[in-house]
């Protein structure tokens, strides 16, 4: 059993500095002892100089977690006190709480993910925790696209124009065709040729592929399109 001073020292060094160095369950135990001693969360918060008693309340909630979840904290597998606070708020059976805590470790869920899963699981009582996790993870997916602005040197732009005119097409279509010879057309979402630049919008796979080709050819990404077009028109003229 720690003394009042030791409990205070733990709270000041872990909560006031907002750097949780100690096992969250141990911090929670100090919160509980001091709350009993001082009578309220507000009094504990005042004593250690916190603006609001919320953090004390959140920590103390960890003590209401099922033993299996507490064990994950004690083994150092679970670190986020906020995640535990959200699990403690979930009005579900202990098995569900345990399942969510294990998913935090295995699937690297963030405290924000856990908050969203708990909020959703509270509403969708008939869904399993696994289903709630899947739905929340899916709803957080973002489609990544890249708009790459590349240089089109004057000389290359003139070559492109001449060749396009010779083939009876436009510089844009010809440039797109040349780039399309080394990249998957499906990855190129949009393409534009301006006076001194080429803009290509690609999906993530396309961007990674482009980076790889540029690296292999030892060119900067901003020179990628100009370089390919010039090389192609110089060495392998169409028609």
């Amino acid at each position: 059993m720690l003394t009042e001073e030791e409990d205070l020292a733990i709270l000041i060094s872990n909560l006031k500095s907002r750097k949780i160095k100690r096992n969250p369950i141990k911090v929670a135990e100090s919160c509980e002892r001091l709350t009993q001693l001082y009578g309220s969360y507000v009094n504990v918060a005042r004593k250690i100089g916190l603006d609001s008693p919320e953090m004390i309340r959140e920590f103390e909630a960890l003590l209401r977690l099922p033993p299996e979840v507490k064990k994950l904290y004690e083994d150092g597998k679970l670190k986020s006190a906020v995640a535990g606070y959200w699990i403690s708020r979930m009005r579900r059976i202990d098995e569900d709480k345990k399942q969510l805590a294990e998913a935090i470790v295995q699937r690297k869920l963030t405290a924000h993910d856990v908050r969203d899963i708990v909020m959703y699981a509270e509403r969708m009582h008939n869904y399993t925790i696994d289903k709630c996790i899947e739905i929340i993870k899916e709803s957080k997916q973002v489609e990544k696209q890249y708009l790459i602005v590349m240089k089109l040197p004057d000389e290359t732009a003139r070559m492109l124009e001449r060749e396009a005119s010779r083939l009876g097409t436009t510089p844009k279509l010809l440039a797109k065709q040349i780039i399309g010879e080394i990249m998957e057309q499906k990855d190129i979402l949009s393409f534009a040729v301006r006076k001194s630049s080429i803009m290509i919008r690609v999906a993530e796979e396309g961007f990674r592929a482009m980076e790889m080709i540029a690296k292999k050819n030892k060119v900067e990404l901003e020179d990628f399109a100009g370089n390919i077009i010039r090389t192609r028109l110089e060495h392998e003229p169409s028609g």
């Binding site: 009993q36 309220s40 507000v42 959703y120 602005v149």
Partner: protein, 267 residues
Amino acid sequence: MLKTIGYRKIPIEKIEIASDYVRTRIEEDEWLETSIGRLGLIQPIVVFPKDDKYQLVVGRRRLEALRKQGEKEVEARIIEPVDSMIAKIVSIVENERRRSLPFRDTVTVCQYLYQKYKGSIEKVMEDLHMSRNDVLKYLKFVLVPEEIVQMVEEGKLKEREAEASTLAGLSETTFDKNKAITIAEAIAKGELTPEQTRRLPDISTENPKASPSEIISVARTRPIRLTLVLPKRIVEALDRAADEYRMDRKDMAKTALDSWLSSMGYY
């Protein structure tokens, strides 16, 4: 300032709870019951005399725990009578082991103090022991329709969901109450995840004429995050401009893009 008349034991049966007492729902609280059973009452409850009885100001959960344990009397701090608004403020601040308090009361008290202190958020924070973000969160609720407040009180909707659905009904100049309510109902039915709910205000701002079902449908679509990859000369120019306008590079890029698109007539 609350004026104390005295401290003494009073009969539990003589304590009345005002109909507008802030803690309107009492949940099972094993921790408090065990603690009171083990240690006794650490802090007295707060009441004021009313007719030949007492009206409770602070300590409803403690009172219920004692009543459950068959106690007949309780140690009380007796204060001079206060009006219901002051009682609410005291209750919010002093409620020991504070759990989330009823939404409507917290909004009302925040608004009341904000007006009383002529717009000083700092003073509201001090009075209620709340963080700045919490005070601002509650002040936003001036617009929330009664129907949505009720959904929050019935536990069908979280406060932040009430906020998102209200903002989704708000355009620059008008507030479409029905749109907000329809969206709130969809959230309550589980049609949107918390992440999708957070997107609602932005979607609504970008599509002010969209119907509730269109807004919900966009919120459920996977969003696109577009990364701009620029040549060094443009990045350097952006940095020079950002320096001159005292903005960071990202904000400068957004401003430049916005200004170019608008000058070219794209919107």
